[in-house]
């Protein structure tokens, strides 16, 4: 028996040592949408924050709805999402301290190349949706309360149409952007996508092309298709919130240096940025 105590003690001390060691590094829990993670943006910029602030960022990439819910429950220190109305409500209800502009990209309507609803070249998204509904061409909706789905609902409303899932042509998928694009590619459906996700998957979507929104954000003529992202530190009173680190993160994310880094993501691979910097400091630089 006595012999076993020595190694056991070593193991216990090692474990204690480990937990001590890791607790010295701050952990920031970031709840965000799949688009920021899937596009490779976070991988490109977060290491700099982790190094500068000697912290680790735990990313939960999910739908905007769940990301906001995570913030409300106090299971995240900061949220980075894109659904302006939901973000404002989050702050108004006291779940977050303040919303800050971070960046934007845009949405496009993609569809089959034979374009049965003849929407190619239409500049206003709501008009294009009107044509799709009029011709009963298949439309794939995210249907998951994500930022993209919220935007799509607003565009239908602007078109004065209330698409019904029972009608057959409007498919409410309840899946992520990538899955929805695959669905549209397979079934010859139209869908609304953020440009970043579409560009990053374009190689696997031979049957789809951008029909409304142009080849880059500069060609997008419909301001309703703009897609702004905001960052909100979660209310510190929820308990267990690392408010200091969250504030440092917001400060860092909106700094001119990080913003110029955001602007470079995607340029090599797609010839255009996936996100355009838009923080107050960037605009006033």
């Amino acid at each position: 028996m006595r012999r076993r105590v020595g190694p056991l003690l070593v193991v216990v001390l090692a474990l204690v040592g480990c937990s001590r060691g890791s607790s010295e590094v701050g952990v920031l829990r970031l709840a965000t949408t799949t688009s920021t993670a899937d596009s490779g943006l976070l991988d490109a910029i977060l290491p700099a924050f982790e190094e500068e602030y000697r912290a680790r960022v735990d990313v939960v990439a999910t739908g905007t709805g769940q990301a906001i819910e995570l913030g409300e429950a106090g299971d995240a220190d900061v949220i980075l999402v894109h659904a302006r109305a939901l973000e404002d409500a989050f702050v108004a209800e006291g779940h977050g301290t303040e919303r800050f502009d971070v960046m934007y990209n845009d949405f496009v309507i993609v569809g089959p190349e034979d374009d049965p609803a003849s929407i190619e070249g239409v500049s206003v998204a709501a008009d294009a949706l009107g044509l799709i509904a009029g011709s009963q061409a298949t439309f794939a909706s995210r249907g998951d309360s994500s930022g993209t789905h919220t935007k799509e609902r607003a565009l239908w409303e602007a078109a004065g149409i209330d698409p019904d899932t029972g009608s057959g042509w409007y498919k409410s998928l309840g899946q992520g952007m990538g899955d929805t694009l695959n669905f549209a590619n397979e079934t010859g459906a139209y869908t609304l996508s953020d440009r970043g996700t579409y560009l990053s998957q374009q190689a696997n979507l031979p049957n789809l092309s951008v029909l409304v929104g142009g080849m880059s954000i500069a060609e997008n003529a419909d301001p309703a298709l703009l897609n702004p992202y905001g960052v909100i530190p979660v209310d510190p009173d929820k308990g267990n919130i690392d408010a200091e680190l969250a504030e440092q993160f917001v400060e860092w994310l909106t700094s001119v240096e990080t913003q110029s880094r955001i602007e470079k993501v995607g340029v090599d691979a797609f010839g255009q940025p996936l996100f355009y910097p838009d923080s107050e400091k960037w605009r006033n630089r």
Binding site: T62, G63, G65, Q66, I68, E69, L70, G143, D144, S145, T165, G166, K171, S172, L173, G174, Q175, D179, F183, E186, T187, N207
Partner: protein
Amino acid sequence: METIGRALVDAIRLLRELDPELVETVALTLQVTLGALIIALVSGIPIGAAVGLARRLPGRALIVPVIYTGMGLPPVTVGLFTYLLLSNQGPLGGLGWLFTPTGMITAQTFIAFPLVVGLTMTSVQGVDPDVRTQMIALGASNRQVALTILTEARIGVTAAVVAAYGSIISEVGAVMLVGGNIEGETRVLTTAIVLETRQGNFALALALGIVLLGIAFLTNFLFHRLQVRQGGP
């Protein structure tokens, strides 16, 4: 705790009101699960019995491990395989089964089939070999022998049914990929749970989980009654 309490209340309310969307989702869940289960049983039990009873089976050393591996296939891999099979560019794209309940049944059948084959095989192998020797001595045909041994092995075969049923009704990866989780068309209980969770509707998601658990329990209760009537434990 509050979420769990709300979920229970929600589950009871959904069931009491017979929420039409819930009824539709439950009906499709049962249609897909039972459809796949029946196909897997009709094809898997005879094959399992044949493999288990064959005296000399060329390649048994390979066939049996293949069946065992099939019993542990990750459903999402089966889903991916079925997706590629049924995709426009796939060999069976012409059938137009992708994103339909038929496609979901196809994927679920691939998941259930090895389970039925494997468990039937082991349960017929567990039957006293004397039964077979005696029947052959009495002049029974191969078919009669197989049927008698299957009857002897019925408790094990029922276990095969229960295992296959449990694995497919609770499965989410394959039906999500192949079905597409389309509202009113291919949305089943498991994919609805994923969707509601992602939207942060934890109470509703948990309520659907409770409904799923209830259905699984009811069906297994019936299976067990069947087993008892057959003289099982």
